[in-house]
């Protein structure tokens, strides 16, 4: 049961990512109090994130829009370079790899499923061509028949009729496209899949189909998932462990059961109480004060202190560190001090 006995498959250490939003050199020049100054502004998307993903689990990374969860996915997959910190896969550092040759073995092991099934397939390529591409590039010695067999196999495994291979993406519904997108990820037999909001663009009845498909694939192939979502209802069902993210930092990491039974961090509590549930009479949710601060000017101390009902002077000054309390990792001064 306890996943801690395993070695971490993916380790993220002290990860930072900021994006410049000030544009060109000329745009950066600002006229202030009689002087021309160069002023650079950054969006701080990820701020000192530490995260381990264990072999065989589904780690759900949850947060509201703009909290940096998708940036984490892109950093892990090497689509962005981190500003600071490191990412390790089975102990090997992967964020510093540059040459295609060095990255290729990891591309085969780590794959990604995207949010928007309407944009994640190339509209000008047939399904066959889309699925053959990854297989060919990672198995250059295979002949055409073997590649075709593999395409056939992955299409069957995601429930798409292999005879439809000559069709183009626009001929499929959203759910079917997401299946094809999953097939593309599975085509190279990966160990680890990052799924960035894979079901949020789909209808309810289709969401269930895709989630089931992903769970089946996990059982059959022993996959590990990093599942990124804003939908807590899905997390409760799907996740082995859950990491709650707010403004680029983690506030709570715990097993899914424990998190839903007893959320510790005040933000997690507010988030859980806001899930609209059937039958449950409304207005029992915890109201947060104020607005989400922008990631351009991060608040000092705990990033949540402006909206937190339990914040005190220490929360405004000192950044809380993720520490283990009763089996849950929480970053909160109030809990640490026993105030909450």
């Amino acid at each position: 049961m306890d996943t801690k006995l395993n070695t971490p498959l993916l380790e993220v250490k002290e990860l930072y990512k900021r994006f410049s939003i000030s544009g060109d050199f000329l745009d950066q020049l600002k006229f202030e109090s009689g002087k021309i100054r160069r002023k650079k502004e950054y969006v701080h998307a990820v701020n000192g994130l530490n995260l381990n993903v264990m072999q065989g689990e589904s780690l759900c990374l949850v947060g509201e829009s703009g909290c940096g969860k998708s940036t984490v996915a892109r950093l892990v997959m090497g689509l962005e370079k981190p500003t600071q910190g490191s990412i390790h896969y089975k102990g090997d550092r992967i964020d510093t790899l540059f040459a295609n040759k060095e990255i290729m073995p990891y591309r085969k092991k780590m794959q990604m499923i995207f949010q928007n099934p309407y944009a994640s397939l190339n509209p000008r390529m047939t399904i066959n061509a889309t699925l053959m591409e990854p297989i060919k590039i990672h198995n250059p010695t295979w002949d055409n028949a073997t590649v075709q067999d593999k395409v056939h196999e992955v299409m069957l495994s995601v429930g798409i009729d292999p005879t439809w291979g000559s069709r183009f993406p626009h001929e499929f519904s959203g759910g079917q496209r997401q299946r094809i997108s999953i097939a593309r990820a599975l085509a190279v037999d990966p160990e680890f899949i990052v799924a960035d909001e894979p079901i949020s663009a789909l209808d309810v009845s289709i969401q269930a189909q895709v989630l089931n498909l992903m769970m089946d694939a996990q059982q059959e192939r022993g996959l590990t998932y990093l599942f990124i979502t804003h939908d807590l209802a899905v997390v409760e069902h799907f996740g082995t462990r859950v990491a709650v993210m707010y403004l680029g930092t983690l506030c709570e990491v715990s097993t899914a059961e424990r998190l839903f039974d007893r959320p510790r961090h005040p933000y997690t509590q507010a988030l859980l109480s806001a899930i609209p549930r059937l039958n449950d009479n409304h207005s029992s949710y915890i109201k947060l004060q104020g607005e989400v601060p922008t990631p351009v000017n991060l608040p000092s101390g705990c990033v949540f202190h402006g909206r937190c009902p339990y914040a005190n002077a220490r929360c405004k000054a000192e950044i809380p560190i993720l520490t283990e309390i009763e089996g849950t990792q929480v970053a909160c001064h109030a809990i640490e001090e026993g105030r909450l």
Partner: protein
């Protein structure tokens, strides 16, 4: 279990021709009379250009078939006309109809050749600038801005005049067509580069490009195999307009005496050669090739407009 859970998509046509006839493209062509007319006229021009040697009653490039005594004969429908010269003759005694046929051929060849060169340069530069971005993008786009701040004609005039002065008129006349393609081609690449870059920037944000990167495809493969095919519609649209522009540019240069030599006239040089005689009553030498040129350019622009409307995804979906 999951196999049963998929239903067949709509029964759609699957042969290429059936697909084409069901497409939005074919449908909008079918209901647009202007587009059909333009397309017909354009096809006629292409036909004329391709089969000029077969259609033309005389060979204007063959000095043996030209008699200076036949010069300035008006079109056959006027009083002094001659039955054997339908549209009359020019100042050198060449049959105007034959000369126009050959001239259209030259004009179209230069137009299309120049556009191919523009497209090749512009697409490569636009793709690289858009996809790789950063300083390279800034550098290439500033270069495009500089290039655009000179007018095409000015660049062409300077370049061609210098070439003519330094290598002599004879060599120039030999290489005229090649030089015109080169100059017009190089002068207008920024049009393509900008259009391609803009659509690359839009396409780059789409998830299928990320997916291709995650698969481990090389940068050139992503650029040419994944992004380029999705930027083809705007390229197609500007190509029609650019061919028209290149034909006009060539005509203007020829009119200024920097284009095709009188022995191998394009539409522009024909117009130019007749210009001196327009006040002596020989209006047809300038007017008829002029009408032919204007019609060609008009048709291409109308086709371009129509294509833009059809291929604009916003209009398409709304």
């Amino acid at each position: 279990m999951t196999q049963n859970s998929t239903l067949p998509v709509n029964n759609q046509a699957h042969t290429m021709s059936e697909k084409f006839f069901k497409s939005h493209f074919w449908h909008s062509f079918k209901i647009d009379i202007v587009a059909q007319l333009c397309f017909l006229v354009f096809i006629a021009y292409v036909f004329m250009a391709l089969f000029a040697p077969a259609i033309a009653p005389f060979d204007p490039y063959d000095p043996a078939s030209i008699d200076i005594m036949n010069s300035e004969i008006p079109p056959s429908w006027s009083e002094e006309g001659d039955e054997s010269f339908w549209l009359g003759t020019d100042n050198q005694g060449r049959d105007l109809w034959s000369t126009i046929l050959y001239g259209t051929r030259v004009s179209l060849l230069i137009g299309i050749g120049a556009v191919f060169l523009q497209a090749f340069l512009g697409i490569c530069i636009g793709l690289v600038a858009g996809y790789i971005g950063g300083r390279l993008d800034s550098f290439l786009m500033r270069m495009a801005d500089v290039q655009l701040s000179f007018s095409t004609l000015m660049v062409a005039i300077i370049f061609l005049a210098v070439f003519q002065a330094s290598f002599g008129t004879e060599l120039y006349q030999e290489l005229a067509m090649f030089m015109l393609i080169l100059v017009i081609g190089i002068a207008e690449w920024p049009q393509y580069a900008r259009t391609v870059r803009a659509s690359v920037l839009a396409e780059k944000e789409k998830e299928y490009v990320d997916a291709a990167r995650v698969i481990g495809l090389s940068t050139p493969r992503i650029m040419f195999r994944h992004i380029l095919p999705n930027t083809l519609s705007p390229i197609l649209v500007i190509s029609t307009v650019q061919v028209a522009n290149a034909i006009i540019a060539e005509a203007s240069l020829s009119f200024l005496g920097l284009g095709m030599p009188a022995s191998e006239p394009s539409l522009g040089s024909l117009i130019s050669s007749g210009f001196e005689y327009i006040f002596s009553g020989a209006w047809w030498i300038t007017m008829i090739p002029g009408i032919v040129l204007v019609l060609l350019v008009l048709v291409m622009n109308l086709l371009g407009d129509w294509l833009r409307d059809v291929l604009n995804p916003k209009l398409y979906k709304g």
